[in-house]
């Protein structure tokens, strides 16, 4: 028998070291940016609030609880909209990928709605669904659904024919092929769709709150704008960025867990 030496270990170490230095540079870059911002504000070159002012406002808002209420309101909308969108997108995407008839009937609609920015639906959604949570959740649902459905069906149609043939010659029925070949083979595509979907859902919620809301990070910015409250605008912006990055990271980790079998370059 051939002996195979394990070559993955040193590569893994190298990769970790690389990841670490990438992370280190990221921190350094952020620190440098904040330093420049701080210099610009104490030098009087800018009307922007200083990093210190933003930090104190963050603490104030956190202590009096408003920050958490806003974060909770925004996150709740995103997660509900995203959950409904993804749960619906996966079966519809599979249907479109598996049956040509479903594809030719559904695809034109998806292509049409994809070119309309979700925000453009808001006026219609407010008029028809009222001014409470429904119109916001609806546009977020739409944003998440459209990304996830397209990538799911792309995933199904791009499953390598050889896998399907290999399963068929081993006696697999259509049902078995679907469950044990199509679903796992398209999982990487579906997760990419979730990632894009979550990103556009987050972008949409903030914009939707700017237009029509009584709570949330977008609404808080809008209020702060009325009172010329720059530190609060900054706090909201930073929170939107941090939460967006965190959610993206969660999907990436889920992706690595679920598709660890993939060959990565």
């Amino acid at each position: 028998m051939t002996t195979v030496t394990d070559t993955t270990a040193p590569n893994q170490v190298k990769l970790n070291r690389q990841a670490l230095s990438t992370f280190g540079w990221g921190i350094l870059s952020f620190a440098g940016g904040i330093g420049l911002w701080w210099l610009a504000t104490i030098g009087g070159f800018s009307e922007l609030p200083s990093p210190w002012a933003v930090l104190t406002r963050t603490v104030e808002l956190a202590v009096d609880g408003q920050l958490w209420t806003d974060i909770f309101a925004s996150l709740q909308r995103v997660l509900i909209g995203f959950a409904i969108g993804s749960v619906l997108a996966v079966p519809i995407g599979f249907l479109m990928g598996w049956y040509r008839t479903a594809r030719v009937i559904i695809d034109p609609w998806i292509q049409f709605f994809r070119v309309i920015p979700p925000l453009a639906i808001i006026p219609l959604a407010i008029v028809t669904l009222g001014i409470d949570e429904k119109p916001k959740i609806f546009v977020i649902f739409l944003a998440a659904f459209l990304s996830a459905v397209v990538s799911t069906y792309q995933g199904v149609v791009s499953v390598d024919r050889t896998y399907i043939n290999a399963a068929r010659v081993l006696g697999a029925s259509d049902g078995t092929i679907f469950r044990r070949v199509i679903i796992p083979a398209s999982t990487p595509f579906i997760l990419v769709g979730f990632r894009i979907g979550l990103g556009s859902a987050w972008a949409t919620v903030v914009a939707a709150e700017l237009i029509a809301a009584q709570s949330g990070l977008g609404f808080r910015m809008q209020q702060a704008q009325l009172y010329y409250d720059l530190p609060t605008i900054f706090v909201s912006l930073v929170m939107i960025g941090v939460l967006g990055l965190l959610m993206d990271k969660i999907v990436v980790i889920a992706e690595e867990r679920l598709t660890h079998w993939q060959e990565r370059v």
Binding site: T2, T162, N165, A167, V169, L170, T259
Partner: protein, 258 residues
Amino acid sequence: MSDPKISFKNVRKVFNTGATTFTAIENLSLDIADGEIVTVVGPSGCGKSTAMNMVAGLIPHSGGEVLVGGKPVTGPGPDRGVIFQQYALFPWMTVRENVEFGLKIKGQGASERRETAMHYLGLVGLADFAEAYPKTLSGGMKQRCAIARAYAVNPSVLLMDEPFGALDALTRVRLQDQLLETWSKDKRTVMFITHDVDEAVYIAHRVIVLAANPGRLQEIIDVNLPFPRTEDIRLSPEFTEIRNRVWRAVYHRDAQAA
């Protein structure tokens, strides 16, 4: 000789691609005996993969008859094991799960499945890699896993489409010997497609040479060399002579001109 295991009777295959039609195979008649190893060689476009896929039941034929064990082929089935050039292992399953795939479809229970899978993995020298994912295997190991997967469902016919084409020369020779060794025990019928003339002669009872445009039978060359095939046979003048005949038949020119 008894009834042929695989039989092509005036087989025709026409591909329709929109407005144009392309004749891949024209009037192919060929019998492969039970327990025989037949290799198929020919230039690209001679329809060798198409012929094999028709036996596998993966593509329908346009005319004539394709019979396996005397019955017309209507679709794929576990009586015909297929080994693809691209290995076609499911990357989301471990080596053992890949081998168990066909057994699960057959309805075998978990412990029986595991036992069978481990037996065949042992046979191809992959027992230590049962729980590994295909991405961690070399090309030769992937193909050995694919061979174990095909053997596990115990097919009476093995269809191999350039299975060793992507491997290095040394691995290829090893896998050829392993194939012959397994064959000497179970005497399955093997239809083996290759573009390597040495390989075609080394493992076969007969070499089928196909010609292209349209794909058709050019020549059948008997390989009258004893089994077991060894390195001595590979280096013998008789081997070289047959090899040269196949070469000339494939490249369609005589030795003097070349």
